[in-house]
């Protein structure tokens, strides 16, 4: 029997100063990454200072929104279950925590190619998640 859950309530992201731009972009259907002009590397979660070279010359760049599943787990018990938590390695480099949605969770596998989709938290904030790219 396939496992779907599109009804899970998504907790609102608890924003601190500086977090707005990421979620504003998400509301426009864009996944953005903080990227460092000094060392050229993208990182995640986003910071005001590059975690690799400590340069403060970081800026937002649009990501392609595609990557592959590094690992995942389907939670079968607890609030909101079933749901699939995962780390996705984006084509730009960073591996990001996310949920896999819009698919039979029993078919999720490591190495699967995925693309970003957006779901809304309880207060309507757009949150990036990922769904398998049709083969």
């Amino acid at each position: 029997m396939p496992t779907f859950n599109e009804d899970r309530k998504i907790v609102d992201p608890p924003l601190n100063p500086g977090d707005g731009a990421f979620f504003d972009a998400a509301a426009q259907g864009r996944l953005v990454l903080k990227t460092c002009r000094a060392c050229g590397q993208a990182h995640h979660y986003p910071r005001t200072m590059c975690p690799f070279c400590w340069s403060t010359d970081v800026h937002w760049e649009d990501a392609k929104g595609q990557g592959e599943i590094y690992t995942f787990s389907v939670a079968r018990r607890g609030p909101g279950a079933p749901y699939c938590i995962a780390y996705v390695t984006l084509d730009e480099g960073p591996t990001v925590m996310t949920n896999i949605v819009g698919t039979d969770l029993d078919t999720v596998r490591i190495g699967q190619r995925v693309q970003v989709v957006f779901r809304h938290s309880e207060n309507g904030t757009a949150v990036p998640m990922f769904t398998p790219i049709a083969p």
Partner: protein, 389 residues
């Protein structure tokens, strides 16, 4: 400069309760402090160093210092790194003693998550201003699925199986059957573990530790004091600590911070994994044990699954007796933090005071290691190596 031989564990006490609805957290701390100082044969007024972590009421040392009426404190340390804090405290106490900052250090842990309905499947809010929270909370990272993601990746890279992970619980249950205080005293089989419900793929209910009330305390003192007492002496000979995290998005969940603390602690102690006769390995989940065994060098990376099979962790049967009190998997996990009980059982083994059915004969060298936080996103790690004089 080394802490090798600069301090001894002279007192240890584990609270007997696993459910304490009528105890306050401060009362539990007080009872374990009293138990440990009496075990050492000393008294309140001898204590001049105090160590606690965020399980203390107020997440700080001053309330408990007041509650216990510690009046001669010269050194205070409320380092919090989750469940491995107490392993760090042992090393910090040795550093403080070596530097002449204190003579007799008390370390306490206590909590009542069993009475308070704590669960491994709900998100633990660790603060309101954490920079990572907006990028994690919406995805429901809970302890179980964070460790499960590590297990899943380890299975993918190395072929580790659920049957192999189950052997870790089986070994813990073999030890817990002899512990009258253990929450889970029934022997379990690999089949029992695999038949228990999957909580977060690939981890089952029986891959998880218990949720218990209780606590524990230890006393660390300078060598002259240890040598004045009529007890088997447990000497700290090596220690190391670290943190491991997401590294800005360059994530590898197949190893823990023990990969760094293990080699450093062994180097300081001047011993190797092959010398260790007993190991207390932090066991929040079966996968936690497997990863640390590899990281500490008891086997090669990727071979942990084969290492733990066929009872290799069972005292009297396998090559590396582990968690002979039943560990967090079967005995207790007070305050959702397993570091203190790891030290206490290592002390019992070195003193020859473990249960006779699980006592390692002539145990002279033991290791205790721990993880605080979650392997799946960020954690602390600490390792101590202890020797009987």
């Amino acid at each position: 400069m080394t802490i090798k031989g600069k301090a001894y564990i002279i007192g240890a006490y584990e609270h007997p309760l696993r459910k304490a609805p009528d105890h306050s957290v401060a009362q539990l701390h007080a009872e374990v402090a009293k138990g440990a100082i009496e075990d050492a044969g000393l008294s309140r007024t001898d204590i001049d160093g105090f160590f606690c972590a965020a399980d203390a009421p107020g997440a700080n040392a001053w309330s408990l210092a007041s509650h216990l009426n510690l009046e001669k404190l010269r050194h205070i340390d409320s380092t919090d790194m989750g469940g491995c804090s107490y392993l760090m405290h042992v090393a910090h106490a040795a550093q403080a003693i070596a530097a002449g900052k204190c003579n007799v250090a008390l370390i306490t842990l206590a909590g009542r998550p069993n009475s308070e309905g704590s669960s491994g499947t709900t998100v633990r809010v660790r603060g309101t201003n954490l920079p990572e929270s907006p990028y994690e909370f919406p995805y429901s990272p809970v302890n179980l699925n964070l460790y499960a993601m590590s297990a899943k990746r380890h299975m993918h890279e190395f072929g580790t199986t659920s049957e192999q992970l189950a052997w870790i619980k089986v070994a813990a249950s073999h030890h817990a059957q002899h512990n009258p205080h253990a929450m889970l005293r029934d022997l379990v089989t690999v089949e029992d573990v695999l038949a228990s419900p999957v909580i977060s793929d690939p981890l089952h209910r029986l891959d998880s530790c218990v949720v218990s009330d209780g606590g524990g305390a230890i006393i660390v003192a300078r060598p002259e004091i240890a040598k004045s007492l009529n007890r088997p002496r447990v000497k700290l000979i090596g220690a190391s600590e670290t943190t491991k995290h997401q590294s800005g998005g360059k994530i590898d969940l197949t190893y823990t911070g023990a990969a760094w603390t293990g080699p450093r602690a062994f180097e300081e102690a001047g011993v190797t994994p092959a010398d260790i006769q007993y190991a207390s390995i932090y066991d929040s989940f079966t996968i936690t044990v497997l990863l640390q065994l590899e990281d500490l060098g008891f086997c090669k990376k990727g071979e942990g699954g084969r290492f733990v099979m066929d009872g290799n962790l069972i005292s009297g049967l396998g090559k590396l007796p582990f968690n002979t009190d039943g560990g967090g998997l079967c005995n207790n996990h007070p305050a959702n933090r397993g570091g203190m009980t790891k030290i206490i059982e290592a002390v019992r083994q070195l003193r020859g005071e473990a249960h006779p059915k699980v006592q390692v004969p002539n145990c002279r060298l033991a290791l205790a290691t721990g993880i605080g936080g979650a392997i799946g996103h960020r954690h602390g790690a600490a390792t101590v190596i202890l020797e009987r004089d």
